[in-house]
């Protein structure tokens, strides 16, 4: 990379700042020295007391953590080699992850099962700052799609190891988890089933609908407008709107109730997520098919392909990366939206979020929110990698 023109010699060391690094260092300085690292509460619902790094950790450990943060912030601040920046971000993130667990143990009085220790704003901001640094390094390293998925797997394994090692067991979010271990996994699988199931249904219906809209131009504007309007209905309103018709179906269609179709519960949540998913799938199918070069389509017909051969042999493969982008939007959107399904008894991680809000227990809210964000994040990385691989396959193969 070429920077500013070199100054003549004799002017001393040429110090250059990294633009993003300046921001990261400023955030880290604030979070490390001014913001609270952990919150201590006598029980799960009373207001907490802030604890800085120095208060939350044994003296030597606290000094070590501050030293790591300062060193990493300096590495981020100046233009330094990528490997060094990678090491700085990883070391800091690992140290933060390990030491928040130590803070949990350190701050909890021995034998007290009511006291709660949770990460406070300083911890979250530090995590954010050094994740930003890590993301920046990974972007600059220009990793291949497979390597990015590999990084994701390594991160997931590291977090699982930390969870299993028990070093976080004294943190309040895990205490909430231990109280609800069974329902956590049940709601988790319900959450994933809702998000993936509605996506699958949207693809099964949306792809043919998109192809249909592409072929019959008169339908296109109408269908897309209807889907657009559905997209603008607030999710809670849509759940409400679905109660009456689904309730009617449950009582009047034989066998519907046995299938689990009711005015509230999983069925309306599933239908609502499905409806929200249709627009991105249909719209991206239409856009993808419209982007197929005219000449290729004309040649395909002129060569004697039937409509079906042309669809599966030419149009669909060429539109596939765009369609996949629509599926990615839907998956990430559904993982987030499925949280709201809990409002009408649809289950999912939202159950913990709304229980937590109801009890003003923020740790419980986090127990629902953190896995949701992690799932959406992982889904985005994996699908981005798949999209890049399908789009560049024809280029890479012969490179």
């Amino acid at each position: 990379m070429r920077g500013a023109p070199e100054r003549p010699t004799g002017e001393g060391v040429n110090i250059r700042f990294d633009k993003l690094g300046v921001v990261i260092a400023a955030i880290a300085a604030y979070a490390g020295f001014l913001a609270p690292f952990a919150t201590f509460r006598a029980n799960r619902i009373v207001p907490g007391q802030a604890r800085s790094i120095l208060e939350a950790l044994p003296a030597t450990t606290a000094a070590l953590l501050l030293a790591i943060i300062v060193a990493a912030a300096l590495i981020a601040l100046f233009r330094t080699p990528l490997v060094l920046r990678l090491a700085a971000s990883v070391v800091t993130l690992v140290a933060l992850a390990l030491l928040i667990g130590v803070a949990g143990t350190f701050l909890t009085p021995a034998g007290n099962t009511f006291a709660r220790v949770s990460p406070a704003s300083g911890f979250w901001i530090l995590i954010f700052a050094f994740t930003l640094l890590l993301a920046d390094v990974l972007t600059r390293l220009n990793l291949s799609p497979l390597a990015r998925v590999g990084v994701l797997v390594v991160a997931a394994l590291a977090i699982s190891l930390l969870l299993m090692s028990g070093s976080w067991d004294n943190l309040s979010i895990l205490k909430e988890y231990f109280n609800r271990a069974d329902s956590f996994w049940a709601e988790g699988s319900k959450h994933v089933t809702l998000a993936l199931g509605s996506l699958a249904a949207a693809v099964i219906v949306g792809l043919p609908l998109g192809i249909f809209c592409h072929r019959v131009e008169r339908l296109r504007a109408g269908v897309l407008n209807v889907l657009n309007i559905i997209q603008t209905i607030p999710s809670i309103a849509l759940f409400g709107l679905l109660i009456a018709p689904l309730g009617w179906v449950a009582t009047h269609v034989p066998g519907a109730a046995a299938l689990g179709i009711r005015g509230i519960g999983t069925a309306p949540a599933f239908v609502a997520l499905f409806l929200y998913s249709l627009l991105p799938v249909v719209a991206n199918t239409v856009v993808g098919l419209a982007g197929v070069p005219r000449a290729a389509n004309d040649a395909a017909r002129g060569m004697g392909m039937t409509d079906r051969q042309r669809l599966f042999g030419v149009e669909f493969p060429l539109a596939f990366p765009v369609i996949l982008t629509g599926i990615r939007i839907v998956l990430v959107q559904n993982i987030g939206l499925a949280t709201i399904a809990a409002l009408i008894g649809g289950g999912g991680f939202g159950v913990f979020v709304f229980q937590g809000v109801g009890q003003t227990a923020m740790d419980l809210v986090l127990l629902g929110a953190v896995p949701t964000v992690a799932l959406a994040f992982a889904a985005a990385i994996i699908l981005d990698a798949v999209i890049e691989m399908t789009a560049t396959k024809r280029r890479v193969e012969t490179a």
């Binding site: 290729a296 004309d298 493969p317 012969t398």
Partner: protein, 312 residues
Amino acid sequence: MIEIEGITKRYDATTVVDDVSMVIEPRTVCVIVGTSGSGKTTLLRMINRLVEPTAGIIKLDGADNRSVPGYELRRSIGYAIQGHGLFPHRTVAQNIATVPVLLGWDKDRIKARVDELMTLYQLDPQAYGPRYPHELSGGQQQRVGVARALAAEPNVLLMDEPFGALDPIIRTKAQEDLLAIQKRFGTTIILVTHDMEEAVHMGDKIAVMDAGKLVQYAKPAEILANPASSFVETLVGASERPFRLLSLGRVRDAVEIGSAEGEAIPGDASQRDALAELLWSGRPALPVKGTDGKPLGRITVDGLVKRAARPA
């Protein structure tokens, strides 16, 4: 033989092709020329039924082209278009193999045919077969497009401005290649263009279309000498006429007895090129040599000027 009988195509109120009748002899090149919107492309696309006519019949070797389903008909007719229309997600070899695969040829036969065509078009099958279209130059892409159209050994090849996207030097080469391959396989070619130069150069017969009507259908020399209407005359270009007429003849046919000084002109060069060489070198005459290099005689400015005059 292709017989077009009273073909008409109407879209709502507009008549795009208006009662066109013509016969295209087998193993010849027929060039349909006209301005844009003249209906030439529509006429071409009605031959392989990419467009269905409103009225009239097209017969291929005596059989109505509606006697088989459209897609089956199109597999038996070659089709090459401007901008080549190669499939970007398929390799060069897969592109060329398109119609043979549709016809269900066995693998060995397809590979043999693809290799044959690529070799014919000076593309090494080993090096270029596994590449993707975007990795080729414009000229190479065009050659692959024509090779793909010829893959299933069709008797008839339809071409819609196949050389339109090429630069002049590559275009001339592509035209020569096509004529050579047409002679080799005896394919009947129907080629649409708006370029009269290309029409005169390529066509055994030229069909001039204007506003959906077939204005004149004749040999190039006849079109140049006796344009049927003022439109044809404009299309031919008054200032270009004598040179186009000369471009139809070979030097060997204009040789006079005698000898001359200077660089010899090959006997199979066009008379137009010979005239250009004479004018440029400033000589009244130049020697002519045969393909074996032996002198055939000479060619003169006066002789060529007489030949460039309007035929009686």
